[in-house]
């Protein structure tokens, strides 16, 4: 081939194409390609930044939250001497008597493992959780046959000791501490070496209830998890039927006029209303007007149902719209009524979409905190498991995100750690729900 493109003045070769050689990029193409490359680069940069943030977030959550799942325990034997137990039970301050028992046993234990200390038993007790007396009492009352025996206990250590084994509390920090001092930590170090003090997985964090400000080592998220569960049941039972019925009516039956347009616009707007507005609405309507009990999962659930409703309506209508009109025509064409067409044919096809939307709405509600603040589902509320359905719905309880918020507010860094741990559990729930939604969508997608 000649270099016809390079010498434009030369007589055109007979086979020369109008637009120049295909093997060379012209200026426009080069420019276009450069723009395309730039655009791709921006996209990659944006995604990288997003991923970096995600990684940082996950790293922070895991680093801060994982320690909450372990706890430091001290294993020791106590002789449940019959006389002492009786004396304690006869006293009006029974748990404090039991504490003394533990204190003496602890001194014996230290001597047994060969640790010398001139500390008073009461002073030694600072290493253990304030709740140990109550725990011994609980064991004695639950199984009286143990009285007279030597029983092995696995006591929670005080949160400072726990913090020390986790590296959260440093020796220098103790200078400012009222009671625990460096010599306590020496003992802990030795006990760790002996295997008397161990840090292990703590199921009680997942299943337990909240504890008072001074005993972070006892606090768990279990009861508020139940609170969340009861709320989700209320949300599901209230929001799903109402939402689906409203969407079916709007999408399939309602005439298209000003009124339905207005309703449509408002439903979309409702989805964007800040959740705290729903909270104050719940407070005004359910508590002040209807006099439902404060802080109850029933009220929380109703409030969250209001909030979830627009999400369900929007996703249900979208999935109804996605069902091809030819299916409706087919049903009507063989003489099905409108309702038969909807319930026999349209709804089953829309069901996966509706379900996905519902799960995502529920997941949103599960993570919602602001409305709960207003109806009082936060604060130190739950220390008991609900005993039955009625109390589950009506007794004051907390919810996972509210519990996390509450912990994060408390002064003790041990609670801060638990807040992160709670977030891991909450995220696990949300992720599970989203994965279920994805699986449903994948499995049932487009079978027509």
């Amino acid at each position: 081939m000649t270099d016809a493109t390079a010498t434009p003045d030369a007589a055109p070769a007979p086979h020369r194409k109008k637009g120049g050689s295909l093997l060379e990029l012209d200026a426009r193409t080069r420019k276009r390609n450069a723009a395309e490359a730039r655009f791709k680069a921006y996209g990659v940069i944006a995604i990288t930044i997003g991923l970096l943030f995600l990684v940082a977030l996950l790293f922070a959550i895991i680093r801060n939250g994982i320690p909450a799942f372990t706890q430091t325990f001290l294993t020791m034997e106590i002789v449940l001497d019959e006389e002492t137990v009786e004396a304690a039970e006869g006293s009006i301050v029974a748990t404090s008597q039991y504490r003394n028992m533990v204190a003496e046993a602890l001194q014996v234990k230290l001597a047994d493992v060969g640790i010398e200390t001139d500390k008073e038993p009461r002073d030694l007790m600072l290493m253990l959780s304030p709740g140990v007396g109550a725990e011994v009492r609980r064991v004695v009352q639950e199984s009286p046959e143990l009285i007279g025996e030597t029983v092995e206990f696995r006591f929670l250590t005080a949160s400072r000791v726990d913090g020390y084994t986790k590296g959260r509390v440093q020796r220098e920090d103790l200078a400012r501490d009222r009671n625990l001092d460096a010599t306590h930590l020496d003992i802990v170090d030795e006990l760790m070496d002996q295997g008397v003090v161990e840090r292990t997985f703590n199921l009680a964090f997942i299943t337990g209830s909240d504890a008072s400000e001074s005993r972070p080592e006892e606090a768990g998220i279990g009861v508020s998890m139940l609170g969340s569960l009861f709320m989700m049941i209320v949300v599901l039972v209230c929001a799903l039927p109402v939402g689906v019925a409203a969407s079916i009516y709007l999408e399939e039956f309602a005439p298209k006029n000003r009124l339905t347009d207005f309703i449509e616009v408002n439903i979309s707007n409702l989805a964007a209303v800040p959740s705290i507005v729903f909270g104050i609405l719940g407070l005004a309507v359910f508590i002040q007007f209807a006099h439902l009990p404060q802080s109850a999962p029933l009220v929380g659930g109703l409030t969250l149902a209001l909030m979830t409703l627009p999400t369900i309506v929007i996703s249900t209508r979208a999935s109804l719209k996605a069902v091809p009109p030819s299916i409706r025509d087919a049903a009507l064409g063989v003489g099905a009524s409108k309702m038969q067409a909807v319930f026999h044919h349209v709804l089953p096809l829309a069901a996966p979409g509706i379900l996905t939307g519902t799960i995502i709405g529920l997941a949103q509600a599960l993570g919602e905190t602001a409305p709960l603040l207003l109806i009082g589902m936060v604060g130190f509320i739950a220390s008991n498991y609900p005993d039955g359905l009625a109390s589950g719905f009506l007794d004051p309880n907390s919810a996972m995100p509210a519990q996390i918020y509450e912990w994060a507010k408390r002064a003790d860094p041990a609670y801060y750690e638990r807040a992160w741990g709670g977030i891991i559990i909450l995220l696990a729930f949300l992720m599970t729900m989203n994965i279920i939604a994805i699986i449903l969508r994948r499995r049932f997608e487009r079978r027509w």
Binding site: A330, G333, L349, R447
Partner: protein, 265 residues
């Protein structure tokens, strides 16, 4: 092959099944059908032809009140089925549609099994007392739609898994299963290949034994092959309505002639 080869033209009866007078259809402000008068005969295939957008589908959908489902559509005039006004306030369109079945342009089987597709109509209309009767209805319908041999071993498979032509015959089976008196077909072959088209056309000719069939088609050849009567629509007007042979050989209106000879498209 002579495209305009005509089927036997003997119209078996002169019984009027559907009589339409001064029918007007409006979509909002659009006047889609103007002053249409037509008598559709029983046991006859009537073809509606005309350029696209002239209102064939619209008029067809008046006959079983499918236009009711379109919010903006408004129908005026009289349409009588066996002497009864189908737009009378007392008429429930659901009952009407059981008598006047419809096959759509695009095959639209339900995403259910072949059996359930055919059985759905009879079920909701209570045509079968028990499973055995229902089985029989399904078999008869599939045989009428010339699908039985292909489908009898796979009744439990989804209807959407059939080929296009089979799907359309399934839709025909579904329509005849409810034992309608009139069968409306809106371009039933437009999504089919020539072989499937030939099968469906053969089927339409057989269905004439039992039903009044109204078929919309954009293919004049098809109208010539399957119909005994032909109506030519243009811009919302019914221009000419006569024996198919007459329309294709000796039309009275110049517009019909231009269309037949390919001058209006």
């Amino acid at each position: 092959m002579d495209d305009l080869r005509l089927v036997e033209r003997d119209v078996d009866t002169q019984d009027i099944k559907i009589a339409a007078r001064k029918v007007q259809v409006f979509y909002g402000d659009t006047h889609a059908i103007r002053d249409v008068d037509v008598d559709i005969l029983d046991k006859t295939v009537t073809a509606f032809i005309g350029p696209s957008g002239c209102g064939k589908s619209t008029f067809l959908r008046c006959l079983n009140r499918m236009n009711d489902t379109i919010d903006v559509a408004r129908v005026e005039g009289d349409i009588h089925l066996d002497g009864e006004d189908i737009y009378d306030a007392k008429v429930d369109p659901v009952q009407l549609r059981a008598k006047v079945g419809m096959v759509f342009q695009k095959p639209n089987p339900f995403p259910k099994s072949i059996y359930d597709n055919v059985a759905y109509g009879p079920k909701i209309h209570g045509l079968a007392k028990n499973k055995a009767e229902l089985d029989e209805i399904v078999e008869t319908a599939l045989r009428r739609a010339a699908l039985w041999d292909e489908a009898k071993d796979r009744l439990d498979e989804p209807g959407t898994g059939l080929s296009g032509g089979q799907q359309q015959r399934l839709c025909i089976a579904r329509a005849v299963a409810t034992e309608p008196e009139v069968l409306l077909m809106d371009e039933p072959c437009s999504a089919l290949d020539p072989i499937a088209t030939a099968q469906v056309e053969e089927l339409i000719d057989e269905l004439r034994q039992n039903y009044a069939v109204v078929i919309v088609t954009h293919s004049m050849q098809q109208a010539a092959r399957v119909s005994q009567k032909t109506a030519f629509f243009h811009l919302g007007y019914l221009v000419e309505y006569d024996e198919t042979g007459k329309i294709f050989t000796n039309p009275e209106d110049s517009r019909t002639e231009s269309y037949i000879s390919g001058k209006i498209g």
